[in-house]
Symmetry: C2
Subunit: 338 residues, 2 copies
């Protein structure tokens, strides 16, 4: 096994001091008036020996690691996987590498993960928070590790966040159903405490309200699982007068609902119309293709990284930005016109 190269070994081999080697290899040659000849010699030796600087040592000295921590509730979920993909890509553009923590929707994992990231001295953190309490995140942000929330946020937080306007998205979805003549619309929601759920429910209710259908509101369900969609749909369809349309708050809920509808022998959209949230290529290949609200995850990811890096690189306090992006309705064939 070859010895790993360090500044010291290069210094010995070239006869220059460690200081000089460092300045050459970190591009500070001009600033420190190192002669062209010396630069040449040292650079060659470094290239020849395949020198890779230790970011540990560098980070220790400079307290910058060019690393960003990313906490995601479930990387298996295609929605989050897409977001992660974009964030990794964007971060790389700016020279940052990602340490990824999968919190599995557990607040304890989130805290542990954050601790691990802090001890790794990440320069900043992007997080889809699981918990209800942003206090400790705000504390970290205040102590000079910038934190940006994505997808979910908190009612009263000073932290930066980027997310979809879930309220608008829900209104678009429900309006679409109402405009198509539906007035008996079941809403199957995800985890009730989470901000996206709350906002989508609010959108659902407001859409009904403005159309004078407030008394028709029916909200059921309690998490983002396939089972939840299945069970709630089963229940709903068991009543004599079942809903003519379903607003499913996620792809997973949608899948459960589709299964239940098919089992009961009903047809989408003839018997039951359905609108879902989140985009996914597979939705185009279901029969019928599912009308859904698309979240602009590309923009969410890009903005989050930009915000974070601004805060990291400008030491003068960049003020927190709280951004909600407009969603977009993708109309397919899962809604009938009555």
């Amino acid at each position: 096994m070859k010895k790993k190269d360090t500044l010291l070994s290069i210094s010995k081999r070239t006869g220059f001091s460690v200081a000089t080697v460092s300045r050459v290899l970190s591009g500070q040659a001009v600033k420190y008036r190192i002669s062209a000849k010396t630069v040449q010699l040292i650079s060659e030796e470094a290239k020849k020996s395949n020198y890779v600087p230790s970011l540990l040592a560098k980070g220790l000295r400079t307290s910058k690691t060019h690393t960003i921590g990313l906490l995601i509730p479930s990387i298996e979920n295609p929605y989050f996987a897409n977001i992660a993909s974009i964030i990794i890509f964007e971060a790389k553009k700016f020279g940052y590498t990602i340490v990824l923590v999968d919190t599995i929707e557990s607040e304890e994992n989130e805290r542990e993960g954050i601790a691990s990231l802090l001890s790794r001295k990440v320069d900043g953190i992007v997080v889809v928070p699981c918990g209800q309490d942003p206090a400790y995140l705000e504390e970290i942000d205040r102590q000079d590790i910038p934190v940006v929330l994505i997808d979910r946020y908190f009612d009263t937080t000073s932290l930066s966040y980027v997310c979809t306007n879930n309220y608008k998205g829900a209104r678009m979805a429900v309006n679409h159903l109402i405009d198509s003549g539906h007035d008996n619309i079941l809403c199957i929601r995800g985890v009730p405490q989470s901000m996206p759920t709350k906002e989508r429910v609010r959108g659902y209710l407001d859409a009904l309200l403005t159309h004078g259908l407030a008394d028709k509101a029916r909200i059921v369900g309690d998490d983002f699982s396939i089972q939840n969609g299945y069970v709630e749909t089963k229940l709903a369809l068991s009543h004599r007068q079942h809903p003519s349309a379903i607003f499913a708050m996620s792809n997973t809920i949608l899948l459960g609902a589709v299964k239940a509808i098919r089992e009961s022998g009903l047809k989408i959209p003839t018997d039951v119309s359905i609108v879902s949230f989140d985009n996914n290529i597979y939705l185009d290949y279901l029969d019928p293709a599912i009308t859904r609200v698309n979240q602009p995850i590309n923009e969410v990811g890009m903005l989050a990284v930009k915000l974070l890096i601004q805060r990291i690189e400008k030491s003068d306090k960049v003020s927190a930005a709280q951004i909600q992006l407009p969603p977009q309705l993708i109309v397919c064939n899962s809604v009938s016109v009555k």
Copy 2:
């Protein structure tokens, strides 16, 4: 902004030396005969001040970072996202954190990513290789950073790998079609150079061969995209005598094929049967649900992490392990019996 705590600051506040504080906080108290009272005092102070050790300093000193580098060709791809998820989970069980690099199927990105990981002093690397040449990976492995390949491997490599037995998987799929009475089976493949593709093609051919259908072999396509599946299926269906069954080498290819089949007004499985590779929950919700070959990605991920950590933690050379796991056929309704 509060000052960050270090051994030194705790040392000052408690009156003990940095050495003693270090030994207490790293659980070496007994070994170095630190008195219970001292342990108590130091631990309390550390807890109170919310001390988090710097893994940079620790890593620099001990040359262990408890970090594993993971290189994936595309985290957007649900198949890889699932693998990543498992690897993150397993690594965490052993106290390791993951630095994730998305290589976007580019060998250059892979090399860059590896360099970045090396300079971060990761303890080991798990990689789904993009390139054709394992030489530089082997070099790294030899220089004491263990490398484990997953999903793809190389013909003649000394590196450890864990992957699915793609040959077997393909045989299972094609045998299933043949057993159902099909003899005109089109194979739409992915990137031809990649090992999984080669092995699946070999399986396809051998299955035909052992049933005396060698002359019926038809292999088309050249990448793992939806477009590829679509185009090749369109072409195939345009002939008077179109294949009665399709063996699609991935979910993406499958989706393209499904689209083409639907557009031509044909029905699955009545007119065209189809079998795909890789599992995905959505496949159960297509109409009909798609019969496919499931890769044991849980086991792949777990084994990869175990192998890697064995190599990391036992300094005595653990010999390389090259493992192929059996796939499994999930029979649904996309194959007709003739």
